[in-house]
């Protein structure tokens, strides 16, 4: 319990630091959101209107400390403010609109990649010397190739040239969002190619990581002992070796689950997927402070929660963490 309480304290402190950085970082960017807006709107705004617009957007020249206190106060009330780019839409509306797409796509893809990657990693370590060794050079290659390159190559081949998959959007234009067959299958169809790219690109890490730890574990005395006892090789592989080797992978899984919320910016750009990643890009480009802060907040909280869950899983999986106190 002391372990958990200490972790909890640590997370609260981290949350405060994250919230503060969320406030500071957008404000350290050069330039000003309203000037950018005027520059983007190509003469549709008279410069004399800029001051009034700044006020409406809630951009103040008050000193940072006052702004910071306001910001914390609003945060406690769950107020994230209104986006500048999409004024007057509230930041919470934008985030709740984009988040399900990201969680659905990147979340499911991360889960698939984790399960498949771990499985392949375990098998590759267990059956060394078999054809499964072929996985290694392929994984190393995929690990080294930048993600967007994989994505663009797949888009070009399967989307543009062969036209097997749609290359943009979360669902077809011929369906209306609703919980019915045509809509759901359209969503799945549109998610297929981006999900495949995420799985392909991120699986390599898991395979390599799992295999390496597994190989080390296989040399441990208790594995030799289990084999000597005459246990089935399936039992040795899963209950003795894999269970111990999986601990580092759980950490990285928890971390990546946290980052799911941030979306895969590149995936979402390549596939024009309407998730958090594309929103974040837009917010950064337009120096949309309120939207950026809102998205950063959601991301940092998600990462913290995911880490906390990983800690909990550790307590369950690894008895040593329980004994430490």
């Amino acid at each position: 319990m002391r372990f958990l309480a200490r972790r909890l304290g640590f997370y609260l402190l981290t949350a405060w630091a994250a919230v503060t950085l969320n406030f500071l970082i957008p404000r350290m960017m050069p330039g000003d959101p309203v000037d950018l807006l005027v520059a983007r709107l190509k003469g549709n705004v008279d410069p004399a209107a800029i001051e009034a617009m700044k006020q409406a957007f809630g951009i103040s020249d008050a000193n940072l400390w006052v702004q910071y206190v306001d910001y914390l106060g609003n945060l406690f009330n769950g107020e994230l403010g209104r986006s500048i780019t999409f004024f007057p839409t509230e930041v919470t509306t934008i985030i709740t609109g984009a988040l399900p797409w990201t969680v659905g796509l990147v979340g499911v893809a991360t889960l698939i990649s984790y399960l498949l990657g771990t499985l392949l990693g375990v098998l590759a370590a267990w059956k060394r010397g078999s054809w499964l060794d072929g996985v290694l050079p392929v994984s190393t290659f995929m690990h080294a190739v930048p993600y967007f390159w994989v994505a663009l190559a797949l888009v070009f081949v399967f989307g543009v040239t062969l036209r097997w998959f749609p290359v943009s959007r979360a669902y077809g234009l011929d369906v209306v969002p609703a919980w019915d067959g045509p809509f759901v299958s359209s969503v799945l169809y549109h998610a297929a190619l981006p999900a495949i790219t995420i799985v392909i690109a991120s699986m390599a890490d898991r395979i390599l990581g799992m295999r390496n730890v597994m190989v080390t574990t296989l040399g441990e005395d208790y594995v030799v002992m289990a084999e000597a006892k005459g246990l089935t090789s399936r039992r040795v592989m899963w209950a003795y070796a894999a269970r111990n080797a999986i601990l580092p992978n759980i950490t990285s899984f928890a971390l990546s689950l946290g980052f799911v919320v941030g979306g895969s910016v590149l995936t979402e750009i390549v596939f024009s997927y309407p998730g958090i990643g594309s929103m974040l890009l837009k917010a950064v480009e337009n120096e949309d402070f309120p939207l950026m802060q809102g998205i950063f907040l959601v991301i940092s909280l998600a990462v913290l929660v995911a880490n906390f869950l990983a800690d909990l899983a550790y307590v369950v999986l690894d008895p040593r963490t329980r004994q430490e106190a």
Partner: protein
Amino acid sequence: MTPPRYRLLVALTALVPVVALAGCGGAQSPNTGSKTAPPLVIHAVDAGSYQENFNPFHLEGVNFGTTGLIHETLEYFNKLKPGESKPWLATEHQWSNDGKTLTFTLRQGVKWTDGKPFTADDVAFTFDTMRKHPSLNRSALDIAGTKVLAPDKVEIDFGETSYAKLFNIAGNTGIVPKHVFEKQDPVTFTNPKPVGTGPYMLSSFSAQLYEMKKNPGYWQPGKPVVPTLRFPAYTANAVQTGLQQGEIDWAGAFVPDIDKIYVQGQPDQNKYFFPPEGLVSLLPNLTNPILAKPEVRQALNLAIDRDKIVKVAERGYTTPPHPSGVVMPGGEAYLPPEHKDAKYTVDIERAKQLLKDSGVQPDKLSFTLLVPSPFTDWVNAAQLIREDLAKIGVKVETRGVAFADWVSKVGKGSFDLSIRATPFGPTPYFSMRSLLLSDLTQPVGTSATGNYQRWKDGESDRLLAEYAATEDEAEQQQAVQKLGKIMVEKLPVLPLFYSPAWAQYRTGKYVGWPSKENPYALASPYVSPDAAIVLLNLKPAGT
């Protein structure tokens, strides 16, 4: 034909050849045998998804079509023919009181789409709202008050002479229905069920697609012809694929290799028209003592090969400008008579001579050229300028920075040379004002709101004031002509090329688009209210 989505399960079980067939058939097939006119698929602005906002007072968050298609303006100004305007919701206007009072006579018989009549109350309410909420007054109109004189007559009073703002008042302000907006806070109202007078009404909205259908009671009988408009959300990437696959009928996008990606060997069907919408210039920072010397600017001007820039960096999508910066063709009446046929010619020898005469030491002739790196065409243009200027011994270091950084640095005047576009308004006055008015500039270190090169010239200010003090078109033209003369002779900025307004339109479904031969409006779907004018001019193909 089976739509591709039903093949999903098949796709997942990897029965690949079947899916391939379905995918090929997935391309648009507009006419399914029925006689009804097909919908028009439009890409107006790059968007990953839409937010529900149809309030014409808003700027960027508002969805395209709100002004023009739904909320109409009082008059229409053709930016491709400076000085040409059309009555719209107002049949005429009259200035009085030295340009401080403007009276509109409104069209009768116009109805809002909820059946209520459109009256002077609505116009008065619209301008009163802008007066009460400065943040909605994007043209910074100095509105003092409004008076309803009769159901079809409304007077708007201004605190200052406002002749020069007629476009902003009448041509760029969407009129809203009082009976809907008076119950809302106009600053945060998103107008999800817009009620307008325009040719279209919103029929459905989702984050990825909104649709408009024609207003059956529109005041122009028999119009519009296109029954349905579809606005799918396309990002800058997706629009390229959309054009390539022929999904989009009307787009306003930069396409890198337009013949290959879009025209695809069918120039009769897949057309494009890129008329000028602004002036891209090289800005010399005039607070730099060397660039402040006219001979140095003359020399730079003579060394830059605009034809090459247009051909190489701009892919031939635009043309070098008239040296006066006036939009051509169309702006003939505004050209300074003595420089009517002026053209840019490269003359390296004279440029070198000018530099020698200027007395500037050769090692001082070294500048950085600041460009926003996302604008790859400008980055290329900057490289070409660097090569051109090297020929006359001027060293230029090009520096690409992020868009936000560039906006900030140019605004504050911390640059030697930069490239920037100045949008044209309905007459050349608008771009001249933004380029030359000394009130817009600021000392280096403070953000300027125009005139970024920091040109301070009493003559320019006087001519701009002269234009703004009269509604007489001939006098206005004379003022602009003299400003054009300053542009040609004194080089406050070095114009490089016209910035093109992107417009791709396919004539398979509808014809009647603006063209070089008939430039009745900007052809880009993202320009309001021009897009409405274009849609009202369309006719079904093959009739």
